[in-house]
């Protein structure tokens, strides 16, 4: 009985928290962090300002919560999809596809995210920066690992795996960023998938498969 009540309470708590996050996400994405006020967030979420502060101890914390939640969801998706294929090349292709697809489906959030990961207005001083940074680095490490595997299997050139990972992330983010800024996105973000896959995989793979050439000969 008590258990029941406890659970319902928790469910409701979580629901309210989500409502605030949604409202804030929408506003941040429209107006940016600094030009969004707590009063606006509270009003949009249909709560009193004091109530918002029961759930988040500052505006900053709302911001980071939004980013964290989405980045974690994305991380889970990436893990799942990547584990379904075998070779490093295929895994990288999957990585590219999942990330672009996610951005495609969460345009509002990516407005915030892209701004954020580049927007070091935060990154340096606040505790916030560190948490987001860790999440970002987890993704980078994931790619770096794939590259490391590819090198070990002689599929990829010998490059610094981390530097390679940063480069791929840069291509993806830049592409996403440009697409997101368009007022009316023309075509899907997924159309860019092949370009990036081609560029990056060709760039990273060993020059030309000698085995194949020899076989021909």
């Amino acid at each position: 009985m008590i258990d029941h009540r406890e659970k319902r309470k928790q469910r409701e708590y979580e629901a309210r928290r989500q409502e605030i996050l949604s409202a804030a996400e929408c506003l941040f994405s429209k107006n940016g962090f600094f030009k969004t006020s707590m009063a606006e967030i509270a009003a949009a979420a249909q709560f009193a300002m004091g109530t918002v502060y029961r759930f988040f101890k500052s505006k900053e914390e709302i911001y980071i919560s939004i980013v964290e939640a989405k980045v974690e969801e994305l991380a889970a998706l990436l893990d799942e999809e990547i584990s379904q294929v075998e070779t490093p090349s295929e895994k990288l292709k999957a990585f590219i596809q999942v990330k672009l697809d996610y951005a495609d489906r969460h345009r509002d959030f990516f407005r915030i995210y892209v701004s954020e990961w580049s927007g070091f207005e935060w990154t340096i001083k606040s505790a916030f920066g560190e948490r987001v940074w860790k999440l970002y680095m987890a993704q980078v490490d994931l790619v770096a690992d794939l590259i490391r595997q590819g090198i070990r299997s002689k599929e990829f050139r010998k490059i610094d795996p981390k530097d390679g990972a940063f480069a791929l992330h840069g291509m993806l983010n830049s592409t996403m960023y440009v697409w997101i800024l368009q007022a009316k996105p023309s075509g899907s973000l997924m159309d860019k998938r092949n370009l990036i896959s081609t560029l990056f995989l060709n760039g990273i793979q060993k020059e030309h498969k000698p085995s194949y050439i020899r076989r021909v000969v």
Copy 2:
């Protein structure tokens, strides 16, 4: 005589303007645009607030002046270096090198720049955003043109030149960004030059030098 005085005045005016810009650049780079106050800028430049307003009519104008000046300088450098080599591949290599080198030498500014070109807090609404955006797009177009030339000369694959340009900029910005965020940069940014050149050029170039293969055959 009068000419002399006029010139000295202009020199001094320019010097003061620069002092303000330097102070602001440093502060913006440390704390971001919104967390830097005019009072701080004035104090850092050792002027009264009113004096700062003689040179710039708003905080926004200081910000954009910093970005524009540097971006224009960079653009000039890029034009010069690129014109010294012949093939699209070599020109792209030069582009990558110049940009990384410039970032290496203007670390503080690039803190602002990277944040800025991604920091759509501006990009969308203010007149400011448009000017910066144009400068950025000029660079993108420059690269897109090089890619187009490479495609025409059969050196590069058939890709969308603009998408390719965005991808390269992404790689560069991401790499620069990561390097810039490091408190104590280990090694020079120039070390990354080869990685990016290799990745991008291999990615974009046609599969394998047919001439060589044929010879083998």
Copy 3:
């Protein structure tokens, strides 16, 4: 129960609003609009500045609220008293008396009002000016109507009713103004009532009462 609470809230809201208005009225009357700062108003009303801004969205709005409230109250008084007598002459007398009496009892406010209706710093450009101007013109029109009636009933000379109304207001305002400026008013403003009534009514009435003259004859 809830109704109760709501009502008390509203009462308190109104009370606070009034406190601010009183404080502002006093300061405006002492120092004028431009030399009264929001900080002073807030301090005098014993509120934080932000609180003042909950009630009024600008300094201008405080100013206009003061003027409007009083002018409306005065307008109501005028309507009531004028309706209690019959002839245009008596109505004009009542008008003069009520206005002087009101000024007598709201010395501080009339400092503002007299300054205001002449203080075209506003009158011309801001929306504020228009509202105050309308209120003022309503009073002028009231008098003009009385004059028109008097002319129709042959009691008054044929003059332009509006010009006549402006002239009466001028006499009243000037008289009030001079009296208000005295640091320590000597005697009551009401003492002037007879002078103005006499001057204006004699000025406006048809030359000589024939009945009386005939009687003499």
Copy 4:
């Protein structure tokens, strides 16, 4: 020789002073005292700000100088015209006519003046108020004297001469004020002359010419 030079200097000094006053008069009349800046005045007068301060020690002093000069000119005109006629009634008529005529010809200035004499933003605290007040009172006293004469000669009723003078000034100022506020003044201000003369003189004169009535009897 030296005398010559001295005189030219003085002439030039006076000329510059006038240029500043003209420029300021124009600006004050357009934008009001508080919304006119010293920079604007200096620019309009084609002097450096420091130069303006050689002639007037503050913005306030410019303001008062404008008012004083014009009021003194008006006072001289009034004295002259009034001395040309005989009876108090005629002198009052002349007073009314000269004042309206002067307002007609110095519309810009009267914008300032009317605002000023009612605009006690000053009147109370600054030395400025006192000087202007004295000039104003001199005019009032002039009229009061005329009324006193008329009373002594049995032409006018027994009223308080000063109160009567205030009343007349009120009528005049109010009429001028309303006319001045019109964007495009319809007709001349002189058209109002007769109304005011009639109203005031009929108001103040003894009831009906007894001599005439008696003669009839």
